[in-house]
């Protein structure tokens, strides 16, 4: 159940593309509970998804979403 940071970011990324298996989910959760760096990286990967989704929009649309 002990995974490295490299492994944890791999699972965090895959979690954005497929449903992780039970053991992978547990291992990732345990790792994130004690690792600030991987928690930051995982949040930032989710943030990237939101950012790319708005990349093609016009400036005024982004403003509207912000309000």
């Amino acid at each position: 159940m002990i995974i490295t940071c490299k492994e944890a970011t791999r699972l965090a990324s895959q979690g954005l593309d497929r449903k992780l298996g039970f053991l992978d989910r547990v291992a990732l959760r345990l790792h994130l509970a004690i690792c600030k760096g991987c928690t930051n990286a995982a949040r930032q990967m989710e943030f990237l998804r939101r950012a790319i989704a708005r990349l093609g929009e016009d400036a005024d649309e982004r403003g509207a979403l912000r309000r």
């Binding site: 492994e7 990286a41 930032q44 943030f47 990349l55």
Partner: protein
């Protein structure tokens, strides 16, 4: 009829930008948009005013982009640029961070800033071709991994590796050029 034509034309700049983000090739993007507009004009009844016109056009464009990717998949699959990645430089031999990622303060505030998107595009442009294509098919076109694998001739594992690399390089790049400043 003419209203429909001019309505469709009005979305050309948006569609061109959308296609360019995925294809990274101006001519290919223009071809895909042109095919989209022609298909739309030939099939006005397919729209029928049901949904938002731009959403409908974007749906057609996605198919045209994927057609283009399918046609050119063989050329790009030969690129060896993804094998040498600085990805492994992020971790030491025991799998620990060499430099631990810092928290970004209020990242969503950046989503309202034009300069942020310019920086993000610069970061995307630095990704190797196949990595960028895979990542943008996933996050920009919204394809499922299975579809990406099929179109690019990748195994699911390879696909996930490329997506992971793309995300890690982009977060490094944004850390260095935006959030860390």
């Amino acid at each position: 009829m003419d209203d429909f034509r001019s309505g469709v034309e009005r979305h050309r700049p948006y569609l061109l930008r959308y296609a360019s983000l995925q294809l990274r090739d101006k001519d290919a993007a223009e071809d895909a948009v042109q095919e989209t507009l022609l298909a739309a004009l030939a099939n006005e009844s397919g729209f029928g005013g049901r949904s938002n016109l731009r959403t409908w056009l974007t749906g057609i464009l996605k198919h045209k982009i994927i057609d283009h990717i399918r046609r050119s998949a063989r050329e790009i699959a030969l690129g060896a640029d993804e094998e040498t990645s600085d990805f492994d430089a992020l971790f030491d031999s025991r799998g620990h961070w060499i430099e631990m990622p810092a928290a970004w303060s209020d990242p969503d505030a950046s989503l309202a800033q034009q300069q942020f998107y310019a920086k993000l595009e610069e970061c995307l442009a630095r990704l190797p071709a196949k990595t960028a294509r895979t990542f943008m098919m996933r996050e920009h076109l919204g394809c499922e991994t299975g579809e990406i694998c099929k179109e690019l001739g990748l195994t699911p594992t390879h696909c996930w590796v490329l997506l992971h690399r793309a995300r890690m390089s982009l977060r490094e790049c944004l850390q260095a050029n935006w959030f860390g400043k």
